[in-house]
Symmetry: C2
Subunit: 279 residues, 2 copies
């Protein structure tokens, strides 16, 4: 499986993707699912992919070939509008699936892929599209400023709660990392390292690009502090009627959170044995 998310806020676009591909539990590999097409000053695109890896690779290879061919009249470099690029990417995606569709149907393997395409062409605002396996697309909207592909449910609540068009680009990026971190923690089929790219409106190039390993200090710090922050947030939610009031009173008015150990990192302890484990 996969988890990728693209976010569009007023300040620009954020892309984040995991890198785990799995044909089965015992066939797990690391592949990049974030693909960058950058023509600084003119246009910049990022593609996120979920689904069949062969289809994705063929699609990316064809997009690259066309873009590098100066005689090609239809490529990532030729269209004037992002929605036309999205349509074109959809066509290439459908063509990449078509080659093996007949054999696939017989074997029961899905050769479909779904893409998220975002970027900016000079003269337009940045935009973000989901390209479906049928080749059709939808864009983000101010009410739904993000698009997810793959294992999307675990990481959706944090996006729903935080993201608005006015969210800063960096807060949107932090939100994407938390969304990915939550998914990785709750689902084995999504895994490190993570890729992240940021396109600031008007930059017309990749403004920031990061590969985050589990031990990259920035990611490790986010991973370690997020659980503590959540735990503190849960603890300072309104009390139930039967609970005594909290020392120091009003949750919202409290000072710094008490420093607690990160959850799930308990000191070594005796194996409780089956007795405790089972009941």
């Amino acid at each position: 499986m996969t988890y990728c998310v693209g976010i569009e806020v007023d300040e620009g676009l954020v892309f984040a993707a995991d890198t785990r591909t799995s044909a089965s539990f015992d066939d797990v590999r690391v592949y990049r699912k974030m693909h960058v097409f950058e023509y600084p000053g003119d246009r910049v695109f990022v593609l996120l992919s979920a689904g069949n890896l062969a289809t994705t690779q063929l699609t990316i290879s064809r997009l690259k070939r066309d873009a590098e061919d100066p005689d090609c009249t239809r490529s990532l470099r030729t269209f004037k509008h992002l929605f036309e690029v999205a349509e074109y990417v959809g066509e290439v995606l459908v063509a990449s699936q078509a080659a093996v569709t007949d054999q696939a149907q017989q074997s029961g393997v899905s050769v479909q892929s779904t893409l998220v395409l975002g970027g900016q062409i000079a003269g337009e605002r940045p935009g973000l599209y989901m390209v479906y396996p049928l080749g059709n697309c939808i864009a983000t909207s101010p009410e739904t400023p993000y698009l997810q592909i793959g294992e999307s449910k675990y990481g959706k609540p944090i996006l729903d709660r935080i993201l608005r068009p006015g969210t800063t680009l960096e807060d949107a990026a932090r939100c994407a990392l938390v969304s990915l971190d939550s998914t990785i923690r709750s689902n084995l089929s999504v895994g490190m390292p993570l890729d992240m790219a940021i396109i600031r409106t008007g930059d017309l190039r990749i403004s920031q690009q990061l590969r985050l390993e589990a031990d990259t200090p920035l990611y490790a710090e986010i991973h370690d502090t997020w659980s503590r922050k959540l735990e503190n947030a849960v603890r300072t939610l309104p009390r139930f009627p039967w609970e005594p009031p909290r020392a120091g009173d009003e949750a919202e008015e409290r000072g710094p959170a008490p420093v607690t150990a990160p959850p799930r990192r308990m000191a070594a302890r005796l194996d409780p044995g089956d007795e405790a484990g089972q009941q």
Copy 2:
């Protein structure tokens, strides 16, 4: 669909369930999915249900009938151990499905239900079981102190991050409410009102029971403040290398969060029109 969660911590058990049942988008109703069997001083059980409503109702009716029959030798009141009760509930569940299995297979309707059973019998610790449609069961473990049924993915990350055996009963209850609130926000098939029950270890009765509507002050307050707390938590996560340091420095040392409006409750504004909506 449905979302129910049962949590076992050292201090006792927490149960929470939504109440939306849907045969289809245009056939949505409110049904209780939390069922209480209370024999104060001797034993107490809570059942959470997901799946086919007819199966669940038949199962609950049979469990009640048996428990109220003083001559019945196998009922919720007769077993000495919770795992035996879980086995028995599994048997009743399988029998309730069996009556309609043949017709169901022809029509393509699933008549299966999955249950979460928790409670305490005098002389034992409290326990929590998942009862599968086949009638078999699993218990919680210290490493996995919760069980979910129904639309479980949205609300899983918060449980994974917060819950440990040492979590207080009320923090576990707050965590369950946030888990449900996140799911309701992200998935239409899970809806208000919510039912919650708490069994404190040794009470041998329902210690607390709540029905929470969207406008119940406690729930409304949790709903309103959680997003704000999350937003502040995201904003105070480590900065990216290219960002200027935060005013007031170290995120962890900061005082009370700046008061911001709850997300998604923006002032009325002009309709941006299709132009902005589409791109």
